[in-house]
């Protein structure tokens, strides 16, 4: 039997100098199901749990359309009915000041009952309470009917009652039990970065619903995707060699995240323990690491070790393990060093997210000139790596800052969304190892 999970790494530099005190290294770790193992396409049945904001502000207009955000939400839910199958279940939790379950694991075939539950969303009203929403979800998921549970969490604002800290604690408990959560906001009043904290716990996706077309299909896209889940409860332990310092770790696809702050002691070593969440049979998750080290006279050095633990529900296989050791070659002759430009580009792309955080900070400190300079630099980087959508977005907000000296929460949401999008082409799809002179790569 072929292996079920493929774990690969690519280093930016093929070898580095021996006996050097300060060398920078970086690499990309790719994790994806082996298609040869999953010969038949997977079609899982799922428990779909919708946690939907029905506070009073949902009756505000959705941008310049004639529809309210509530209209848009109900349309999106009605579209879900077109894609679920009879063995899926639908749970609808409406939350405002409190939370209420309008549908509790209704079978996908019970279309009439699900439609009735959706109608109830029309009448709910109140403030926004994430804690109540998460507590209710925790109760609801206990009635699981299928192996896979997916939570879809939507809001149009920030939580004003209840404890946000408690809400995140409960979301973390749900994530650790193997439930994944996608988080999203509709309109311009929510905080995209805050919603990313919810999706990050289970390595779900975060969406920023800014146009009506996207709003209509956002749920159906998730439902179609979750059907392809091949691996669940994928946990990664990435251990760094003791000799490494200045460690940094990022997720680069499908969504970019800065994970450096999660590096901590794992046993005696430094490393990162990460809930990678689900893996669809046609998807991959990729991570970038960077570090500095002092080299010795050996010919190679083990720089890290990746340990993966996961379940394959379709084959009833639990606690599967995969291990990968990452080695770096050392040489006295680095004249013909080869650089992997794909890894270099990923490094540049993650710098956009790092810079976005700085733009946010400068905006907060009322420093528009510095924020513009930072954005200009981001434009240059985005153009250099061919991320034209990102470059266009940054230019829009440079102009906005020049006119108004200030970015709104909605602007920051758009900037964060664009900066955190993963590359359209994954590492393993790239075939662009370009032999480069080391000096050239520094230009």
């Amino acid at each position: 039997m072929s292996e079920s999970l493929i774990v690969e790494y690519r280093l930016e530099r093929d070898y580095i100098k021996k006996n050097s005190v300060d060398e920078e290294i970086s690499g990309v770790l790719s994790i994806y199901p082996n298609k040869n193992f999953f010969k038949n396409k997977i079609e899982t049945n799922n428990d779909l749990v919708f946690i939907l904001d029905t506070s009073g502000s949902m009756d505000d207009k959705f941008y310049n359309t004639r529809k309210t955000k509530r209209d848009i939400l109900i349309e999106a839910m009605e579209n879900v009915l077109k894609v679920i199958n009879s063995k899926d279940t639908v749970t609808i939790i409406s939350f405002n000041s409190n939370a209420v379950i309008h549908a509790n694991h209704l079978p996908g075939g019970a279309v009439g009952k699900i439609k009735e539950a959706i109608k109830k969303l029309r009448n709910d009203n109140g403030a926004t309470n994430f804690e109540a929403a998460m507590k209710t979800a925790k109760i609801a998921v206990k009635n699981a009917k299928n192996i896979n549970t997916k939570i879809i969490f939507l809001t149009d604002g920030e939580s004003v009652t209840g404890s946000n800290k408690n809400a995140l604690v409960i979301a973390d408990q749900l994530a650790k039990s193997g439930i994944t959560m996608d988080a999203m906001g509709i309109g311009g009043d929510f905080n995209f970065d805050y919603m990313r904290q919810y999706s990050e716990l289970s390595n779900g996706l975060t969406e920023n619903i800014t146009d009506i077309k996207k709003a209509r299909i956002v749920f159906t896209k998730i439902v179609k995707n979750v059907r392809k889940v091949a691996m669940k409860r994928v946990f990664l332990n990435f251990i760094f060699n003791k000799s490494l310092r200045d460690l940094a770790f990022y997720q680069i696809s499908p969504e970019q995240r800065i994970l450096t702050s999660k590096i901590s002691k794992i046993g005696k070593d430094m490393g990162i323990g990460l809930n990678v969440g689900d893996l669809e049979w046609d998807s991959q998750k990729e991570f970038l690491f960077t570090a500095n080290l002092t080299t010795n006279s050996e010919d190679s050095i083990k720089i890290s070790e990746a340990l993966l633990n996961y379940d394959i529900p379709d084959k009833n296989l639990d606690n599967q393990e995969e291990e990968l050791q990452v080695y770096l070659n050392l040489s006295n002759n680095i004249k013909d060093e080869v650089f992997d430009s794909a890894v270099s580009n990923y490094k540049k792309e993650t710098s956009l997210l790092v810079n976005y955080e700085e733009v946010k900070d400068l905006n907060q400190k009322n420093k528009p000139i510095e924020a513009i300079k930072k954005l200009e630099k981001m434009v240059a980087v985005a153009k250099k790596i061919g991320a034209t959508d990102k470059a266009k977005t940054y230019i829009v907000f440079i102009e906005k800052l020049k006119k108004t000296n200030r970015l709104t929460q909605e602007d920051l949401n758009n900037l964060s969304y664009e900066s955190s999008r993963g590359s359209k082409i994954s590492m393993r799809e790239r075939n662009s190892i370009v032999s480069e002179n080391k000096d050239d790569s520094l230009m």
Binding site: D22, R245, K347, K374, E376, D439
Partner: protein, 370 residues
């Protein structure tokens, strides 16, 4: 760099080829002028003609697309109504056209590739033979402090040979730029030093602030030989004695205890809030913070005085092989005072307890066990 600008015109400053792909970031603003970049030029216009711009200073940094520091400097303004004419004359003098009419061969001379660094003892004359130069080639100083071209560079043999005379150069680092077809740019970084003992040996490949890939097609050979000018008196003789070079072999690691600290002093007063413990997992970056810069762990911005030189990321201190490494990652030299070691950009050294790093006139950083 002194910039003479004309009141009623668009003043155009050409950006050196070396920095065309880089970004220029201004660290302060002068309200009376507008400054914009257009392709490879900087356009300066005076908005408020009533403001006295003489001696105004605009500080800048040059960074690459990854925000890596390349260079920094200052533009000092002065107003000159007939500047344009003088400027052209100055260019004529400094950017000598080197003719490519004949080849020069010298089998005794060593062929070197770029980026290149020369170390010349103060008072010596260094001869540089150029191959691949044509009539559209130019040579000029592009350092922050631009020396007088006529008194420092002599062009001989139709441009094939240049002599660099150091008697009129102060101790320091200079950048001599060669342009071929106004497109390909090559630089020689020249360090003028006081005596033979302070040559930094194997430092050639770390002096260039930006690196250029050379293909066989555009490779330029330069042959260099040093001619000792024994009659020239070293006019800095007797000043601070810097004896040792900074780079050491790994074998000279000094094993130190786990709990080590960097302590910062200004005018002999300790600044405890700037002290840092040196961890095994993280380097400490020392420099000056700028609004759009990457992190600096020990920020010296408010301690620096006029004339003090310190890059945004000047020094990096980290644990390595049981010791502590001090690496100069900035543009300026740094003194390890107690050991009389002068560290040039790119150089590193294994530190010892009570080592004393000196930056500027009054800043001192010490390595201690408490």
């Amino acid at each position: 760099m002194q910039v003479k600008i004309k009141l009623n015109e668009r003043n155009i400053i050409k950006i050196p080829e070396l920095y065309k792909e880089a970004s220029i970031r201004y660290l302060n603003e002068i309200d009376a002028i507008s400054i914009e970049r257009e392709d490879d030029s900087i356009i300066i216009e005076i908005k408020d003609k009533d403001v006295d711009l003489n001696d105004k200073v605009l500080k800048y940094e040059i960074v690459d697309l990854d925000d890596n520091f390349i260079d920094d400097g200052e533009l000092n303004f002065s107003i000159l109504n007939d500047f344009a004419k003088n400027y052209d004359e100055k260019l004529d003098k400094e950017e000598k056209i080197i003719d490519d009419s004949e080849k020069i061969e010298d089998s005794d001379m060593k062929t070197l590739s770029f980026p290149q660094k020369l170390e010349i003892k103060k008072g010596d004359i260094e001869s540089v033979i150029l191959k691949g130069i044509n009539k559209n080639s130019k040579i000029m100083w592009v350092s922050d402090d631009i020396p007088d071209f006529e008194n420092t560079v002599k062009i001989k043999e139709d441009g094939k040979l240049i002599l660099i005379e150091t008697k009129n150069l102060s101790i320091g680092i200079y950048n001599l730029e060669f342009r071929i077809n106004n497109k390909d740019v090559y630089n020689i970084f020249i360090r003028v030093f006081e005596d033979n003992n302070q040559k930094s040996g194997e430092s050639t490949k770390k002096t260039a602030p930006i690196k250029k890939k050379l293909s066989k097609k555009d490779n330029l050979d330069i042959n260099i030989k040093v001619r000792d000018n024994g009659d020239e008196k070293n006019d800095l003789e007797g000043k601070t004695e810097i004896k040792k070079k900074a780079n050491e072999n790994l074998e000279k690691i000094k094993l130190l205890s786990d709990d080590l600290f960097l302590r910062v002093w200004n005018k002999n007063k300790e600044l405890k809030d700037l002290s840092r413990k040196i961890k095994y997992t993280e380097s400490i970056l020392i420099g000056k913070q700028s609004p759009t810069a990457k992190r600096v762990d020990i920020d010296l911005t408010y301690l620096l005085e006029d004339g003090d030189k310190c890059s945004r990321n000047q020094l990096k201190v980290f644990r390595s092989n049981g010791g502590v490494v001090l690496k100069n990652i900035g543009k300026h030299r740094v003194l390890l005072k107690n050991r009389k070691v002068e560290m040039f950009p790119g150089e590193h050294i294994y530190m010892d307890i009570e080592d004393e790093i000196v930056i500027g006139k009054n800043i001192k950083i010490t390595l201690t066990e408490k």
